[in-house]
Amino acid sequence: MRKQELQPATIEPSRRFFEAWLMFASNKAALLGLALGMVIAFVTIFGPTIYPTDPYEMVTSPMSPPGEELLLGSDYLGRDILAGIVHGARTTVLVGFAATMFTLIIGITIGVLAGFYGGWVENLLMRVTEFFQVLPGLLLAMVLVALFSPGILTIIFAIGVVTWTPVARLTRAEFLKIKEREFVMAERAMGATNASIMWRVILPNSMPPLIVAATLGVGVAILFEAALSFLGLGDPNTYSWGYMIGASRDFIWDTWWAVTFPGIAIFLTVLSISLIGDGLNDALNPKLRLA
């Protein structure tokens, strides 16, 4: 009998993403989060073009309630609340993502080194992590912003400094688990360097929980930015939702809309991110994944 070339029953790589997507899509809450996220992304990208009113401009009479002259009313100076929300979205989203990036860079680096090398390196780095963990986050962020000039970069830096610890601990835990797996030894036996084992072998295998942590981290960063801006430590040259709430806080009884609508915007953004993060958690859960 002639040996025939068997055709493998190929599961294309794209199928894996497809399966993760199916898991994600079967989660109604996650889909809601995604839809909400898409609306926010749309507003962030196209909002200022579609609704070009300058948020600093006093366009109408002060404290005009929603629906009278403007859709969402005006604040105590007569500035358009809707314009503020539309233009402030960029700052909020930018700070959210940039601070999360910074958080990931610090957290992953420290977690990778601690988890991979173990011994005194791990001890030292984990003690440093614990030190940062016990510091009150918002207070430290305020101190940092106050020490340096309150600009958008300082805010991103401060948020990164106070939120990296969970990422470092998670990365370390994943490393401790994965470095014992057989393929790590197999890679060594193939002549891989320590660096390539860290970054090319173990880290990619630790990604699913880190992706989830990063997603949820964006929500945390946005809340931090809002809190700092509310306390008057925001970047004075950028318009953000937190700033709007902070600016109008003395008039909360007279212009409830000036603080409520930006608040709702923050709430919906963080909610959307949390729902997406939860959905990803389920979809990327290794226990539910194929082999």
């Binding site: 493998p8 190929t10 057989e182 393929f183 193939m190 891989a192 295998n205």
Partner: protein, 328 residues
């Protein structure tokens, strides 16, 4: 033929809370190009430790190679830098592991894993490495290799994954291939295919193969020479036919007794499987005397006085046992 790999007086110690354990005690072995050497023994006797010492992959601490030399074509692998050693691993000496299910990195496509190893050691371009990866996969008889390279490990069967591991191990045409129980996790028909493949590779590429296993049946089928290990010691060594037909060490005799089909006696086919009573001793309990003594059917007073030294028991046949020296 001159051996390509030679281990001389290799000793490995492990630092534990109960003191220093000698995991390997003065191991000597060698393997020639195109030869396949079987290393056999029960779990915990030092087979895998020997393999890992050759690769210098002993977890350290707590492990340490305290004595001896590992010579690859006259080059002492224990004397070179870690950087030089990395260039030996996967290039001049390759190793395949027991669990093909978990020995491949799950997040990368198999073709990429093979070509990455080629690129790492041979400094060739990406496209050339990919081309050679496909060739390698064809060489280990993976059907439709040019489509398989785009698959992830979890999409392949156990046998296919072990083939991929072998392809990766052979991708730089190493002079020595260490196979640590390569088929333990596979079913019997696949096992036969893998051994067939190893045999074929050995002949075509003139690779020296060190096959580690606990299965005397496998040894009889695929190797030419055998080293029998017990509790970190080499107890017997010789050509495979000689060892199977005329085992001198009681431990070897016991191992062969556990594999009934080797000496299939028509009248006794249904006889109960023999076993070696007892278990491998705790390494911390060793006292420099014969370690097999508590389980040995031929034990005598001398056994608890001195460690037997290696004596010649035939052409290329060595044994370390007092009883073997006297009995015949």
């Amino acid at each position: 033929m001159d051996p390509v790999l030679k281990i001389e007086d290799l000793c490995v110690d492990f630092e534990t809370r109960r003191g220093l354990l000698r995991v390997l005690d003065h191991i000597n072995l060698h393997v020639a190009p195109g030869e396949s050497l079987g290393v056999v023994g029960e779990s915990g006797c030092g087979k895998s430790m020997t393999a890992l010492s050759i690769m210098r992959l002993i977890p350290s601490p707590p492990g340490r190679i305290s004595e001896g030399r590992v010579l690859l074509k006259e080059k002492n692998l224990l004397g070179i830098s870690e950087k030089q050693m990395r260039d030996v691993r996967g290039n001049e000496i390759s190793m395949i592991f027991q669990e093909p299910m978990t020995s491949l990195n799950p997040v990368f496509k198999v073709g990429m894993q093979i070509s990455e190893n080629i690129q790492r050691h041979q400094g060739v371009s990406k496209s050339e490495a990919k081309e050679r990866a496909i060739q390698m996969m064809r060489a280990v008889r993976i059907p439709a290799a040019n489509r398989r390279i785009r698959q992830y490990p979890h999409e392949l069967s156990g046998g296919m994954r072990q083939r991929v591991m072998i392809a990766m191990a052979l991708s730089c045409e190493p002079s020595v291939l260490i196979a640590d129980e390569p088929t333990t996790a596979l079913d019997v028909t696949v096992q036969a295919q893998i051994f067939d493949l190893l045999q074929d590779i050995k002949e075509r590429m003139n690779t020296a193969i060190i096959l580690i296993t606990h299965d005397m049946g496998v040894i009889a089928e695929v190797t030419q020479r055998v080293v029998v290990m017990y509790a970190g010691h080499k107890v017997e060594e010789g050509p495979v036919r000689e060892i199977i037909d005329n085992p001198r060490h009681p431990y070897t005799q016991g191992l062969i007794g556990c594999a009934p089909h080797l000496k299939a006696d028509p009248g006794q086919v249904r006889a109960a499987l023999k076993e070696i009573p007892g278990v491998v001793p705790d390494l911390s309990q060793l006292d420099g005397k014969c370690p097999f003594r508590p389980r040995c059917p031929q034990v005598m007073p001398r056994c608890s006085e001195h460690m037997p030294s290696e004596t010649k028991a035939g052409k290329d046949h060595f044994v370390a046992c007092w009883a073997a020296g006297v009995a015949r």
